[in-house]
Symmetry: C2
Subunit: 348 residues, 2 copies
DNA sequence: CTGAAAGCGCTTACAG
DNA sequence: CTGAAAGCGCTTACAG
């Protein structure tokens, strides 16, 4: 690989001039610039990222923290981030956040502290308080996408509103016995996405149970359909997890007439379980998911689309802006109910 | 962020000693080492990757070239590569190879030439001859996983054998009219994975048509079921693509009794199309895919599993070995027929 | 407009 | 076992 001195020598100028000619920074005569560029092309010279980084303090790379790279949602967001960063000259360093404690310590205490990136994009991952502090102490902008803490600047969908929309759709169809599949990390979980979705579900069910004219009123308990805590099954966010959780629900004394799954992949699992169990969708069971998964249309799945590709673009753009010192546009990320064949009025 | 001099000062030693204490290279008294380590921990010091890279010439980072990061296969391989690299202290720089020519030029002529990585892992992407030359000229080890050129060192599945296994399975069940969904880049494509799969399919069909005692013999044309070129529909590797291609086949005068799809996602699309078209699987149509997709079991899809996670691990391990100067173990990657409910004897 | 020099923060022979 | 010094390959004030 040619170095800047090779180019300088061959072009009959100083390294300083080569740097200026190629970077476009500083004044330089058009003639000199052209000559230098020509020589650089000839030699296939490109400035070493390492040396340039050390000199400027900027790495031109952003780190992306992902926990479940293989899941459709994350893979999709990741792809759109990469596509957005590259044209701006930024590289993408992928940090896979595993469940292994030793690996995580290595990541947060060492890898991330090596100064290899100018900023960090944290895709919805579960982070401990210590890890969040570690991120904040890095000295580079950190932007989350649906991250689990209010202490992290983040782009977010209003997850409670998502759950409200899902429940409202099912209730409008006439469903009262609605179950939720997802996760809840407990009262301390804060901004964790699955937790928010579950809380939104609980709140929406409570609102509905109270009714428009008797919110939380004494007659609530008199409605057998809505009595007790709403149905909820905790599961990991995979198709297989959705299937298992649904089978569990089907075995209940009073199975739900509708299931609100916290992701489309979970919802697919529910649909597989239904078929396996001899339940027709939507005749015997309505199903709604969240995401906007590419396979949703083929499954005929009603869902709350959160436009993952656009989320990735928004996140990348916001990071680029932060790196330029532009503050974050705090507008919540959009979502939209997409009605397909998997939801219908209950059989009665 | 503390620098090496901060640590040196505080520990009362030279920067040289700090470097040695922390890197473990060179002789140093246990006592000094401990003191330095203690101070480094206290200050939260971690050597700058940039400065260390410039000094050593090693970046401790490997670049991964992917074209369809969002597809299940690639996302899965990527995740397992990341999980394998991190414990070894290597970062992963993700290069998304888009279809946009300008982006690709930027990538191959500039980004990749900045010397940010010690080696490159090219996941099955379509590359032009120029791009392959560009990779070879980088001065770092390049390892492909199913890459489209014999000029690139690569880990590969024997794709022809995969197709032979698929066809053999279908023929053993009694199918004669078998269609293939996939891709073929034409005679110049060389080692391109979809092309190899298609060629393997054509070869397997020809072998079978010839029969054990009359391979390519004159009586071939007399068998109406196998006359003419075997059915083939070109499509992109998505579920939607599989569906469209299948619908096209169903509309043919003589639709196939079995479809061999070049990926599981394509096969899912075929199954959706079959249902839509009123065809029962496997009664009216047998379907077999390739990959070992996590949803395969739920779809009841027969497939040729190629163990993507293990492929990622093998690729990462091989790259790590190459970086240590260990030559590549050229053993082909394993695959395995997994029979599920989507294949059965034709109705007849 | 152009160049000499310092500096970015490490590592590594080379001495001692 | 420890340290002073050079060097990795750039960029950027500072002069001219």
């Amino acid at each position: 690989m040619a170095s800047i001195d090779d180019v300088a020598r061959r072009a009959g100028v100083s390294a300083t001039t080569v740097s200026r000619a190629l970077s476009g920074r500083g004044r330089i005569s058009e003639k000199t610039r052209e000559r230098v560029r020509h020589v650089a092309d000839e030699l296939g010279y490109v400035a070493s990222a390492t040396a340039a980084s050390l000199a400027t303090g900027r790495t031109m790379s952003v780190g992306v923290l992902v926990s479940l790279t293989g899941r459709w949602y994350f893979a999709t967001v990741l792809e759109s981030i990469a596509a957005r960063l590259a044209p701006q000259g930024y590289d993408l360093t992928l940090y896979d956040v595993t469940g292994d404690p030793a690996q995580r310590r290595l990541l947060f205490e060492t890898s991330l502290r090596r100064g290899r990136v100018d900023g960090i994009l944290a895709l919805t991952v579960t982070l401990t308080d210590d890890e969040i502090e570690a991120l904040r102490g890095l000295g580079v902008p950190v932007l989350g996408l649906g991250t689990p803490s209010p202490r992290l600047l983040a782009l977010r969908v209003d997850e409670r509103a998502v759950s409200h929309a899902a429940v409202a759709h099912l209730r409008a169809l006439g469903h009262r016995r609605i179950a939720h599949l997802g996760n809840d990390k407990g009262p301390d979980a804060g901004f964790d996405v699955p937790t928010q979705r579950h809380r939104g579900f609980v709140a929406a069910m409570a609102d509905a149970a109270g009714g428009p004219d008797a919110a939380g009123g004494p007659d609530t308990a008199a409605r057998p359909d809505t009595a007790g805590a709403p149905l909820f099954v905790q599961t990991d966010f995979t198709v297989a997890g959705g299937r298992r959780a649904a089978l569990e629900l089907f075995a209940a004394l009073e199975p739900p007439t509708a299931i609100y799954a916290a992701s489309d992949e979970l919802a697919f699992g529910v649909m597989f379980a239904a078929r396996e169990h001899g339940l027709r969708v939507p005749d015997d069971l309505s199903v709604i998911g969240v995401d906007g998964h590419e396979m949703g249309a083929m499954f005929g799945l009603t869902t709350i689309d959160q436009f993952p590709r656009r989320q990735g673009e928004r996140a990348a753009d916001a990071m680029l802006a932060l790196l330029d010192g532009v503050p974050l546009d705090p507008a919540p990320l959009p979502f939209e109910l997409v009605v397909r064949g998997s939801t219908a009025p209950p059989a009665r």
